[in-house]
Symmetry: C2
Subunit: 284 residues, 2 copies
């Protein structure tokens, strides 16, 4: 595995949740494995964007023939951590035709009447697509745990159901990239404040964000449990320090590039006879 | 209405289908109203991309409160005309969270069992979204007319149904931007040839494209009828010369910028008490 520019080790190795990982104390303002500064990071992001775009185009092209592969980026984080920026700046470099975007909000009454995975399954990417979950089925073991909406037995059932569901997706050809954007508690306060002092950002502020912020330690515990229970070999978690937005974007971009690069994507040959079609074209 | 850089008249006026418009003889290799060259066009496209992106973000922001507005770009064209390039290069500048993309392929058996608009309605954009139809319900009066899959009476019914459907969308808050990318017959031949001589493009070639090409005059007649019957005041067509890809992209970008600009979008104030929330934040 070659290292991306400016990295002394690959983010996929540095940021992957391994057994024994502890969220508490993991720095949120670091730039693990990266030797450059903010400007370098922005330049690298721009430079690598076409690489990601081409990989996705190849994924899409393969799916037009026999290709069954897809990629699913799952983004989880506390508010203001930068999920939107990842979508806009990293995923935004990919052709919109190849992106299947899904933001999970509080479930509707209809959704609540079903099992928690009911609304998630149809949102999974079709072959050829880069799927993005902005929040996900993990809310059902995060906010539900924090607020006691599910008891311990139910939470255990859900962790297991999630692992089975993700294994199902992987077996069907989906590569899953799970990312927790790890923003610091102080940094969040600053970003919430910015939303309350910039008229172009007022709309992003939700009083409920402060309510959830008050449960910070419980959320960190809930994330720790998520990592303990659902960071599997087939779908490992990555905890990406998110106080430096430029680092988080670059790191997630590299996670996607690596995941797609390992699919050994090829430009398909086409399912027609090249010589025949070239000849047909002459009389067209 | 201020003119976009480099334009001597706005593309929305120059390219709009007015009563009496004739497709036959309309140049496909022109750059109406634009004084610059290819490089200027590419620079303008890049320069205007953030304008479009911000308008869409405002549209999205409004929808988080009372906003009911959305925009729908309908793209129709002969093969190779550059629909994909419009999506990738123009729509691609917009945050993926705000884009609802739908490519209409040949209908499935289930879709065929319903009226032709059945599969179209759910694909329309929700408030705040920029919807994109890559092909659309117009296929049901284009390819269906060319191949005689619908008789004259049925076609008439469909034109009327389309106008009623689009009026419905407009009444609900959607601005519809209809674009026919007008590629020349010779230019298409060249582009099909390119697909057969570049291994990274083989996958884009479909032998069926040549079959449809053989019906060129019938398609032009069918498009003329579409313009006659469905270029309404509420949802007019634009015929965009498409031999110069750089011009077509710039022109469609300006059509979208104008359509969104006329919505008088504002950054929403938020539905909370600013002073109260700022005070809450201090103790958070």
């Amino acid at each position: 595995m070659s290292l991306p520019i400016g990295f002394t080790a690959h983010p996929s190795e540095l940021l992957r949740v391994e057994p024994g990982f502890t969220l508490a104390g993991t720095p949120t303002d670091a730039a693990p494995g990266y030797s450059g500064k903010k400007d370098d990071g922005a330049a690298t992001l721009a430079e690598r964007a076409p690489v990601l775009a081409q990989l996705q185009e190849q994924l899409f092209a393969e799916s037009r023939f026999e290709g069954k592969k897809s990629v699913l980026l799952i983004l989880q984080a506390m508010d203001t951590a930068g999920k939107g920026g990842i979508v806009g700046r990293v995923v935004g470099a990919v052709d919109p035709q190849g992106v299947k975007m899904k933001s999970f909000k509080a479930p509707t009454e209809e959704e609540k009447a079903h099992d928690f995975l009911w609304r998630v399954r149809p949102a999974a990417p079709e072959p050829g697509m880069l799927g993005v979950f902005d929040r996900s089925h993990y809310e059902d073991v995060l906010i539900h745990r924090v607020h006691g909406w599910a008891d311990e037995a139910e939470l255990e059932r859900r962790y297991a159901a999630i692992n089975a569901f993700e294994q199902e997706l992987v077996d069907a050809g989906t590569t899953i990239v799970k990312v927790m954007l790890n923003v610091g508690r102080d940094e969040q306060l600053e970003r919430l404040g910015a939303r309350l002092h910039d008229p172009t950002k007022y709309w992003k502020y939700n009083p409920g964000d402060l309510d959830e912020r008050a449960h910070w330690p419980a959320y960190m515990d809930a994330y720790q449990r998520v990592f303990d229970k659902t960071s599997t070999d087939t779908a490992p978690w990555h905890v990406v320090p998110a106080d430096k937005k430029w680092y988080a974007r670059m790191a997630v971009q590299e996670l996607l590039i690596k995941a797609m690069g390992e699919l050994n994507l090829q430009w398909p040959a086409g399912d027609y006879d090249l010589a025949v079609e070239r000849a047909r074209l002459k009389d067209a």
